[in-house]
């Protein structure tokens, strides 16, 4: 017995364990899956929620931050919403239950609850690392989700939108996605809450990008001021594949979005971009691990963060370059605008490089609005409030406009603009 297990169990930890006991009878899965679920909840019970002593959670001390765990499913009347980009094909998980939807040609849909019942989901229930709380939580509780399989060489003309909508209580869902060779398409994962009840959700997306595929994947955080979301996306990148991953965080009370990327195919390219708009008393953590395992891969990561009020933001970016991964070209940047005296942003870059012929760099900046910019705009008759809003938009527009899709750019800019209008 170690010292840690001597500490008292918190209300949130106890609630998770009680919840698990209550739900056990209704969670799908064969014997092997039930054993895995048991093991995960036991880990949480034994080790507790991670604290700042756990390096991967250093800036997000869940033991302190997660005070309450809402019970059971939602009560509110919840329904699908219109898509972020008009004309998208929608699949939805509402209050933890995957709905029946139509798939465009070349895409087949499945329910994760079936994969659980049949026991084949067990292969997915693998932890990313020793401190993978999201893997454990989702593994223990997940009862549904949607799998997407996109056939080789399919070019999707419209985006596919995955809506995860919740009206209250908890939901835990999983999204196994296999993108075939040479596919091109845009996918938007949206996290939405409806009604006034607080919610807690965990979602895991397992994204396999096939060789030569060109994929844009957007994660849009749109939850409300009392919602907790633990998100994880685990990515395998094939040879010559290009993935643009865009994280748009503008919502939620307590949010952790993890990205674990394996660049396992040669000549792949990862373009990771993120905008964090943080306000109120929220805490938002974006954590990335990227493994360059083969030679000749390119990756760039750029985050733009705008922090208001008493919000806390975290970016952890870890790039590991294996010894064989020569000619890797990796660049990471994290730029933050701190707009109040009571907010903060923690940025932790980590590079672990075992190859000797690579280019790897990282940079972080923290600034306020530039007074010279502001004065210039005011001298042209633009009022302070409007000028500030324009400068904040300009700060994030630079990376939104890199996306090669007008409709998507417009949708994201509208979303950010609405958020800023409400917070400016």
């Amino acid at each position: 017995m170690n010292m840690q297990s001597m500490r008292p169990i918190t209300a949130a930890e106890q609630a998770l364990v009680d919840n698990f006991v209550d739900r056990l009878g209704s969670l799908p899965g064969d014997g092997a899956i039930t054993a895995l679920r048991d093991g995960f909840i036991d880990d949480i019970k034994q080790n507790g929620l991670p604290t700042r002593r756990v390096e991967a959670w250093h800036y997000t001390d869940l033991r302190n931050l997660l005070k309450k765990v809402p019970d059971g499913g939602g009560q509110a009347d919840v329904s699908a919403v219109s898509p972020l980009v008009p004309g998208s094909d929608i699949v939805s998980v509402i209050d933890g239950r995957a709905l029946n939807s139509d798939a465009p040609e070349g895409v087949s849909l499945g329910y994760y609850r079936d994969a659980l019942s049949e026991g084949i989901a067990a292969q997915r229930m693998v932890l990313q690392n020793a401190d993978d709380l999201i893997g454990r939580l989702n593994g223990a509780f997940a009862n549904d989700g949607i799998s997407l399989d996109v056939e080789d060489e399919v070019a999707l003309s419209d985006p596919m939108e995955i809506q995860v909508i919740q009206g209250g209580g908890q939901s835990h869902s999983r999204f196994p996605v296999v993108i075939g060779k040479g596919v091109s398409g845009t996918f938007i994962e949206r996290h939405i809450s409806q009604g006034d009840e607080s919610t807690l959700a965990s979602t895991i997306t397992d994204l396999h990008v096939g060789d030569d595929a060109h994929v844009v994947w957007v994660i849009s955080q749109e939850r409300g001021l009392s919602d907790t979301h633990f998100g994880q996306i685990n990515i395998q990148l094939g040879a010559n594949a290009k993935l643009t991953l865009f994280v748009a965080n503008a919502g939620g009370k307590l949010v952790r979005q993890e990205m674990h990327i394996n660049a396992g195919g040669e000549n792949s390219e990862l373009v990771l971009r993120g905008v964090n708009l943080l306000g109120g008393d929220s805490h938002t953590d974006v954590t990335m691990t990227l493994d360059h395992l083969v030679p000749n891969c390119v990756s760039t990561e750029t985050f733009r963060n705008v922090v208001f009020d008493r919000a806390h933001g975290v970016f952890q970016g870890q790039i590991r370059v294996a010894q064989v991964a020569q000619k890797t070209d990796a660049k990471m940047a994290c730029n933050t605008l701190l707009l109040s005296d009571h907010c903060d942003f923690s940025s932790k870059p980590e590079l672990e490089i075992f190859a000797d012929d690579v280019q790897c760099g990282h940079g972080a900046t923290v600034t306020d609005i530039d007074e010279n910019h502001l004065f210039y705009m005011k001298a042209r008759g633009i009022r302070e409030r409007k000028a500030r809003a324009m400068l904040v938009k300009a700060f994030i527009a630079e990376i939104v406009e890199e996306l090669d899709n007008e409709a998507l750019i417009e949708a994201l800019e509208n979303r950010f603009e609405n958020w800023l209008d409400a917070h400016g």
Binding site: Y376, K378, R380, G381, K386, L391
Partner: protein, 251 residues
């Protein structure tokens, strides 16, 4: 139109007094040149006129059309018709020049209680003004002043002035960093804006600009005061003899 009375102003941060009892009157339709050696307070005057927070007025007043503007903020002064062409126009990444122009024009109209411009109206106005200043419309799609050459920046300032149609224009060393051709284009742009109901204050080190923008009056600024005023010949005298004589006589 503009009356500066016994103006004293300090740097807000450290309290250094820069403007020390400055008096100046500029009438409607007049082009006034303000000249002076480095450190005489020329640029500070332009910032105090536009209401920059970094400076505080400790004494005196600035009257614009007979009313004090000291209580107005920078944006209100701009909407009331005061325009500063910057010595160093600021680069603003992420804000397209066209977007900036449209917002500025419409914000000023809103502050004056006028209707906003429609997009076609706006585009037509910009096209006309840009053509006169030999500004390529493609340049206006770029972020404001970002990557513009020195000459392009100054022309963009005059473009803004032409579009905003201010009543009182202050040009802070608009000639700095301009070659002869650009100086000609910029001066023509300024001269086109000369009108009986508009006043222009040209701040410059050199007589060169005043050959193109011929002033009605010339004022020499030294240690935060106007130490001598005259007509355009005063600029020539300065060019030939320097500031030493005038400073000695004033002392």
């Amino acid at each position: 139109m503009l009356e500066i009375k016994n103006l004293h102003a300090r740097v807000a941060e450290d309290g250094t007094e820069i403007i020390r009892g400055l008096n100046l009157t500029v009438n409607k339709g007049e082009v006034a040149a303000i000249m002076g050696p480095n450190g005489s307070g020329k640029s500070t005057l332009s910032y105090v006129l536009t209401g920059r927070d970094d400076y505080v007025v400790t004494e005196g007043d600035i009257l614009y059309n007979g009313e004090s503007i000291l209580e107005m903020d920078t944006a209100e002064r701009a909407a009331a018709g005061l325009f500063l062409a910057f010595q160093y126009p600021v680069e603003i990444p992420g804000v397209a020049t066209m977007q900036f122009l449209k917002v500025a024009m419409n914000e000023q109209r809103k502050l004056r209680g006028e209707d906003e411009l429609t997009t076609p109206e706006f585009i037509r106005l910009v096209r006309e003004a840009a053509g006169d200043l030999k500004i390529d419309m493609d340049m206006l799609k770029r972020p404001l002043n970002v990557g513009f050459s020195g000459g392009e920046k100054k022309r963009a300032e005059i473009l803004q002035m032409a579009l905003l149609q201010p009543k009182l224009c202050v040009l802070d060393e608009t000639d700095s960093g301009l070659d002869i051709d650009a100086l000609k284009i910029v001066s023509d742009g300024v001269n086109a804006l000369r009108s009986p109901d508009r006043a222009i204050v040209v701040i410059t080190h050199y007589q060169r600009l005043l050959q193109h923008i011929v002033p009605d009056s010339v004022h020499v600024l030294y240690r935060g005061q106007v130490i001598r005023s005259g007509d355009k010949d005063l600029a020539l005298e300065l060019e030939n003899n320097g500031y030493a004589n005038i400073i000695k006589n004033a002392a």
